[in-house]
Structure formats: structure tokens, C-alpha cells
Amino acid sequence: MKDFKGKFISGLKRYSGILVVLVVFFILNSVLTDTFLSTDNLILVARQTATSCMLGFGLTIVLASGSFDLSLGAVYGLCGVLSGLWCLAGWPIWLNLPVVILIALAFGLANGLVITKTMVPAFIATLGTQYIATGSSYLISGGRNYALMVDSFNFLGTGRIFGLPIQIYYAVLLFIVLGLLLNRTRTGRYIQATGSSLTAAKFAGINTTKIKIIVHVLCSALAGFAGITNTARLFNVSPGNEANPIDAICAVVIGGTSMAGGNGTLVGTLFGAMVMTVLSNGLNHMGLNSYWQQVIKGILIIGAVAFDGYKRLAEERAITRAIVKGEEKAAAAK
């Protein structure tokens, strides 16, 4: 119990910055608008947060391994289009979902293979697959929109269980499963080791190629699934329904996961996703146009990362001081 309390407090400390921002936005929104605090709106915020998490969690794991994925938003779009069209073509869900997710897996596999087997950096490799996925979804749909009304399929995106949107259940499930994966399994440990130091991981006998492929496959599969639920929710198949990868990156980075790898945090990503959602939701309620929202998001992401960097710098100074002090002490003892 004591251990749990200690963990809780150190957790609060670690996320102090983002929690303050979250609380401030929350209070501002509650005070400045009378619609923000309504049950319907809070459920909406929860659903949008959950959707961001489905992308953000996968990306967190990719960043933890020291890699990067720009293609997830486009894979999300492509999988939405494919599943929607196949649903309209009369495919049953039990066939539709696995096939679409297999295609998402293939994109992840391609990302992983290109990154590990060639000298192409992750940023460029996934930029490439992003274009391929986007292009494909326009080619396949002929650039047109289709209405989609198939109850069993729509349930994947509009369903409610005990009054809560189904996305929340997806996110909670993913949080638990990925949390276990990242923190309680060998694979998770190896993901962090690979991100922390690729060479050291290799010398410890870890198959870093396999690890990088796993994280990319996972991330793409999650993006694919999220894309399917999005199409199901919108009653509409459209190649324009891509997710913006930058929003996912914002959530993850604001949550404290480093772009340099080694320290992925799902809790942080959850908070990051909340901040992003509460911010845009609140600004909508205040009637601020979306261009302003973009400007504010930009400031927020730079601020968050700068704050993080500042915190790390202070920490590093403290470490240096502690090491010097320890050495002096040892010298004095001698």
C-alpha cells in the first residue's frame, strides 16, 4: 500500500506540468461556457479522448522503441475506406475486420522492414507509406463518398454499453493490454531497451529488428482498427476521413514521451489526449474558429516540449551535482 502511495506521488510529480494545464483548461472551460460541463458534452470529450488514445497508444510504443510513424493517420483512413466499401459490398464483419486489419498489419510490417533492413530513416519510410496509403484510399474509392447504414457495422463506432460510447471501452482495453505489454513483459522491456540504446540492446542479445517490426505492426493495426470504428461512426465512407498524424504526435509528446526513445508512457499519452480534446472542445464552445485552435495547439506543443526539456536539464544538473557530491564525500571518507 505504501509502495502504491509512493508511486502515486512520484506519478503526480512526473505529470505535474500536464496535469496543471489540464486542470486549468478544464476550469476555464467550465467557467467561460455553460455548455462544457453538460453530461452529453463530457461524454463527447471522453469519446474523442478515447479515439485519440487508440492512435496515440500505438505511437507511444513506436516512439518508446526509438522509431517514428507518420503513416498512422493515412492507414487509419485507408482502413476506414476499405472496411466501409467491403461492408457495402455485403461482406460480413467476421471477414471484413480481420482482412482490413491484416492490410493494416502489412503496412506496419512494410514500415518495420524498410526501417530495419534499409538505411531509410523512420521519418522518411513512414512518410512514404503515408502517401501510399492515402493514394490507395482515393484510388479505391474513386475519390467519392458513400453513405453507409449497416446496423451491425455501425455499432462498432456508435454503440453504447451502459450508456457510454464503445470507444471508451476500446481505449480502456488497449490501455490495460498495452500497459501490461510495455511494463510487464519481456517484449515491453526490450522495446524500451531498444529505444534507450540500440547498440546496447543488440549487445544484450536482443533482436532489435524484431522489436522494431513488432512496434510498427502494432501501431498500424491499432490505427487500422481505429479507422474502421471511425467510418462506422460517421455512417459515411470517404477517403477524406484521415486522421491527422500531427494531432497524435502532439498528444504523445505533450504527455511526456520523448521523441528520442526509451521512455514511452501510456498514462502520459492519455493525459496528452485529454488536454488536446478539452482544449479544442472548449474553444469550440467559446465559438473560437478552428484556425485559432491550430495556432494555440502549436504554442501548446512547443511549450510542453520546452517545459519537458527544461525539467530534464534541471534534473541532469541535479544528477551531476549529486555525483560530484558523492565523490567528494567518498574522498573525504578516505
Binding site: T185, G188, R189, A193, S196, A201, F203, A204, I323, E327
Partner: protein
């Protein structure tokens, strides 16, 4: 008689047309420290990589515990009982001590990681090497010496019967080195066979039961007992005598070129010194005593809070590295890989980046002149590289020469060198000492910060010793001895 643990029998390894090892035979007994020495490029790294499973021998055999083995990857090597403590520590900074120790062989309970069990095992293993930090500490928060202990612990807890130390002391302090000796001696008494690789011969005298010298990929010979002495080892390594090593042909002049008075900064208190024309002034002291910090203030990298700097009697204001260079002062940093060189750029680009102005024409960079400048110091430095070669592919010694070449092109009066020979081989060291001697003849004032007492004693006209962020003393002439310097550095004798 101790059992033979490991034997390399007539091993050769070639990469394409390059012969890295040629017919090398080497053996290691249980409970002995067998030192392996040789210049960079002599084949030490290749030999380690063969044992570590990174490369496989082209011919010959490796016999471990009486059986001929083939080691295909690092995992197999560890499983067999061979562990390597690498020079560039192979450690994941974001993981904890316990996680690093058991990286690759985690404790599992019904498929999930069992951190509790792992922590206990790590604590026991750390105790065995007298480590004084917790297994839960994140490695990022440990000093280099403690990180190294984590690596050693990893090796030992994996049940290593043979531990290979690759240049273990290049970045740890004198005191931590003592601690390392103790750990190594303890392992030896427990019957572990140890291969010890180092450039520092004192360490070898301290530890080694046998010494094998490699040169140009071949074994020159193995020394035991009384034969292990400096003259023998060095002459075997380079094929020349030690007395030719530190050469000073010129006496310093009388004119004071550089003066620093009452310099204070974040980690430096009230330090004053001067350097005369053609003089080499040494800066000694423990790591962290403020030597590097003082030099970085003088070069304008760190902020100077109080103090004045004079060059040839005139006071100068140094606002940053560019202004220091403008006043004729150059600084070769301690950590050449991060602070000095652009590793992926070519030798030429690295050399000329400090003086691009000299050959900028209206139409951009004058390539011809650039090549001339890049080549100017290559011959006197005995630089073994072509101008287009990427610096990352060079040995430590040649990298340092590239950096020297860059700064010699812009140096006018004062040259500050911070650990100029750290981690480089004996031959390259001799070349660098030769150049320093040459520069004194040209009237440069040279400041050399070094942890290596031998080179301080061998090369310097005067030596300042720093302790607790200030200058604690100065010795010159016959007083420059290792004992005197150590006394002042450790705080035994006051000025």
C-alpha cells in the same frame, strides 16, 4: 596448475582484402588476468569481436573449456560464459540498474516479468562487487564508474567464466580505478579468467599475470613475471624505445604570452596562471577539479564571472569561442567525438571548418585552396587518412590529429589541449608529442590538461595542479614528479 579456460589457436580474420588478424594464438587460464596490448588497429578489437560473437574467424579455432566452439552471435557468447565490458558502455540509460543487469535474461513468472525477484537477485549481485547504489536506480542517474560496475555485475551475474575488459579506465577517475582493480582481483580469486585491454601500462603492471602484445594483427609475444616492464612492452608494441617518447628540444622563452588573473565562474574559483612563449604548461588534478571548466571559461564557452585575461600583455574580452579564436586562442576539447568533430563529415571539411573565411571567394568556397589547407598539417601530423574519408571511419589517434589540424590552421598564440591523447594509441601519442614540441619552437604558448601523469611529467615545463575548483599549486623543473603532483591534487601538501 590452473585449467586452461580459453584458447585461440592459429586464428585469422580478414575483411575483404584486409587482414585484421593473422595466425594469432592466445590462451587464458582460470583465475588469471591476461593483458592484451597493442596500438589501435593492432587487432585487439577484432579479437574481442571474435570472442563476443560479432565476427567469426576466417580460419583457426576457438577452444572454450576444452571444446572447440563456434560463436555466432552475442547471445551465444554470453550463454557460453564469456562476457565483455565494453569501452563505450553498452547500457540502456532509461532502464534501472536491475533491468540492465538482467537485460536479455529477465525473470519471468507465468509469462510476465517478475521485478521483485529480479531486484533481489540484482541486489545480491551488486553486493558481490561492493556496489553502493540501489538496483532500482535509473542508470541515467549514475556516474560513469557506477555504470561500469553495472556492466560488470551483468557479466558476473550471468555466470561469466571469462570476462573481457576493453579499456575500462578511459573515462573513470583515479579513485574509481582503484575500486575497479579490487573488483577484478576479487573475480580473479574466484577463478574467473580475465582478458584486460588497456593503453595505460601502469594498470597492466598492477593487474596482469601475463601480457600478450599484438602488432599489425599478429602476436609479437607473451610476457610473464619480471619480463612485464614498460620498456619491453612499449618496444614490442611500436618497435622503438621508450626514451624517444617524450621529446622536448626547445627551451621556453621569457616573454609572457598568456595571462589569466583571478578567474571565477560556475565551477571555478579565483584561478590565476600564465604561460610563456614556447612553453608547455600542464594542468593536472582529479576529474571534476575544475580543469576543463577553467579552460572552457577561457575559451568563452562558459561564462566568466570575474577575472581578466591578457594576451601578450594586452587585456582582452572574450565573449565566446569566435572571439577567443580572434584573439589567437584555440581549444581542443576533451570529448572530441561530441564537442570536437563532425563524425560523418570528411577529413577535409572537418579540418577547414574552423577557417572557412580564409578561402571564401566571391563565388563561394575556393575548393583548391581548401584542399591545400586541409593537406597542410596532414604530413607533419602523420595523419593516416585521405581528405575525402569520413572522420567516423578513423581511429581515435587519427581523429585527434584531424582536430589538431583544424585548430593549428587558426591558432596564432595560445593552444589549449584538453586530454589530447586520451584513448589513442602509443604511436599516435608519439606523433602528437612531436607536434607539440614543434609548436613550442614556433613560439606558441601551450596549455595541456591531462589526467595522464606520465605525459604531464614528460612534456611540461611547468605544471599547475587544480583541486576543489581552484589552482592548488604549481611545480616546475625537477619538482615535476608524479608523486608531488598527486600529493597536491589529493590535498596532502599546501602551496
Amino acid at each position: 596448475m590452473a585449467e586452461k579456460l580459453l584458447e585461440l589457436s592459429h586464428v585469422s580474420k580478414n575483411f575483404g582484402n584486409t587482414m585484421a588478424l593473422h595466425d594469432v594464438s592466445f590462451d587464458l587460464l582460470e583465475g588469471e588476468v591476461h593483458a592484451l596490448v597493442g596500438e589501435n588497429g593492432a587487432g585487439k578489437s577484432t579479437l574481442i569481436n571474435l570472442l563476443g560473437g560479432i565476427h567469426q574467424p576466417s580460419s583457426g579455432s576457438i577452444i572454450f573449456e576444452g571444446r572447440e566452439v563456434r560463436i555466432h552471435d552475442p547471445r551465444e557468447s554470453t550463454d557460453m560464459g564469456i562476457s565483455i565490458v565494453h569501452q563505450e558502455l553498452m547500457i540502456c540509460e532509461d532502464l534501472t540498474v536491475a533491468q540492465n543487469i538482467f537485460l536479455g535474461r529477465e525473470f519471468l513468472k507465468s509469462g510476465f516479468l517478475s521485478d521483485g525477484q529480479q531486484r533481489e537477485a540484482a541486489a545480491r549481485a551488486l553486493e558481490r562487487v561492493n556496489a553502493k547504489f540501489s538496483p532500482d536506480e535509473v542508470v541515467r542517474k549514475l556516474s560513469t564508474a557506477n555504470r561500469q560496475i553495472v556492466e560488470i555485475t551483468r557479466a558476473v551475474s550471468a555466470g561469466a567464466k571469462c570476462v573481457i575488459f576493453d579499456e575500462p579506465t578511459t573515462s573513470i577517475t583515479e579513485k574509481d580505478t582503484e575500486n575497479l582493480y579490487e573488483i577484478i582481483k576479487k573475480l580473479r580469486s574466484e577463478g574467473v579468467g580475465i582478458i584486460y585491454i588497456s593503453h595505460r601500462l601502469e594498470e597492466i603492471f598492477e593487474l596482469a599475470d601475463r601480457v600478450t602484445v599484438l602488432r599489425d594483427g599478429q602476436t609479437v609475444g607473451t610476457l610473464t613475471g619480471d619480463d612485464i616492464n614498460q620498456d619491453k612492452i612499449v618496444s614490442m608494441m611500436v618497435g622503438r624505445q621508450l626514451s624517444q617518447f617524450y621529446i622536448r628540444r626547445n627551451k621556453p622563452g621569457e616573454k609572457i604570452v598568456f595571462e589569466a588573473e583571478h578567474i571565477s565562474g560556475e565551477k571555478v574559483n579565483d584561478s590565476s596562471f600564465y604561460v610563456k612563449e614556447g612553453e608547455i604548461v600542464g594542468f593536472s588534478g582529479m576529474v571534476g577539479s575544475g580543469r576543463t571548466e577553467l579552460m572552457q571559461i577561457l575559451f568563452g564557452v562558459d561564462k566568466m564571472e570575474t577575472g581578466t585575461v591578457k594576451v601578450e600583455g594586452k587585456q582582452v574580452h572574450i565573449t565566446g569561442p569566435a572571439s577567443a579564436v580572434a584573439h589567437g586562442i584555440v581549444y581542443l576539447p576533451e570529448d572530441r567525438k561530441t564537442e570536437g568533430l563532425f563524425l560523418r563529415m570528411s577529413v577535409r571539411d572537418n579540418t577547414t571548418i574552423g577557417c572557412l573565411k580564409q578561402f571564401m571567394s566571391k563565388f563561394g568556397i575556393n575548393r583548391k585552396k581548401e584542399s591545400e589547407i586541409a593537406a597542410k598539417y596532414a604530413a607533419p601530423l602523420k595523419l593516416k587518412a585521405v581528405p575525402d574519408q569520413a572522420v567516423i571511419s578513423l581511429s581515435g589517434g587519427n581523429q585527434q590529429k584531424v582536430l589538431m589540424g583544424r585548430w593549428l590552421n587558426v591558432a596564432r598564440k595560445v593552444i589549449i589541449l584538453d586530454e589530447p591523447t586520451r584513448g589513442i594509441d602509443v604511436g599516435a601519442k608519439a606523433d602528437i608529442y612531436g607536434i607539440l614540441d614543434e609548436l613550442t619552437a614556433q613560439g606558441f604558448a601551450i596549455i595541456m590538461v591531462s589526467s595522464e601523469l606520465q605525459e604531464i611529467v614528460g612534456m611540461c615545463d611547468r605544471v599547475y595542479i587544480m583541486r576543489d575548483h581552484t589552482i592548488a599549486g604549481c611545480v616546475e623543473g625537477d619538482d615535476i614528479t608524479q608523486v608531488k603532483i598527486m600529493e597536491i591534487a589529493a590535498g596532502g601538501v599546501r602551496k
